[in-house]
Symmetry: C2
Subunit: 156 residues, 2 copies
Amino acid sequence: MKLTRVLTMTGLALGLVAGTAFAAGHDGPPPAVKARLGLMANFAYNLGVLGEMAKGNTDYNADVAAVAAANLAAFSATDQSLLWTAGTDTGSISGTRALPKIWEAQADFGSKAIDLATASVALAAAAGTDLAGLQGAIGGVGAACGACHKAYREPQ
Amino acid sequence: MKLTRVLTMTGLALGLVAGTAFAAGHDGPPPAVKARLGLMANFAYNLGVLGEMAKGNTDYNADVAAVAAANLAAFSATDQSLLWTAGTDTGSISGTRALPKIWEAQADFGSKAIDLATASVALAAAAGTDLAGLQGAIGGVGAACGACHKAYREPQ
């Protein structure tokens, strides 16, 4: 049911609270941008913990894997509709690599968010079982990250 | 059931993956610290959207209020046990205001995280109903934020 909500909101409400988003800005990017960068940092951190285990760089730990994967699933299921406010692309402000194309292709952008949430649910179901389960499911999450970044994130 | 999980993990596992947390660090704070700052940014953003409505600085919008409050509840229910890794207090690294006391009072710190999750659930149940519902429930979240910051965050 969370995925349905992500779909509904991501499609409908990008840029809904642009005015509000800027109201509390003091320094650096506006709060909405700080929040979405923060969301990405949590995606990256949890996926990093899991990736290091999957590659054998750290010992597999079922409890840690389960927590990281559950967090990744929870974060990717949150509603992003208030984060992608109008006027916060990389051409308009500094501190973001979000391409303007996000706001021109909202349905596809939302679909890619759902792909991540779906892959993260699958990973959460497998990561705490054993290393093979983690290794089998992590690729789907990486692919979902990569697909969205390739289309919608400015190259460095 | 999410609250139970927060309680269990926060009490048990602070600092569990200290080695892993630093493995992927390139610049700035380590990934675990970026992730917890990112979590705080999402707390602040969603609470900011709701606070502006509660104070009458922006028009009350039931849909936006419901989304922001649901996100706040989801973020506050995530498992923070992998975020507060050993050696990431303000005395050990730059880029954080986390006091060393966090690691000396883990049970209380975890309890304060649960207070936030509990208050956020109450806010999520009320925020999308009407302005009075939002106004009646937002204070509990603010109090939970403040109690933890007062005890565990270095003053600026």
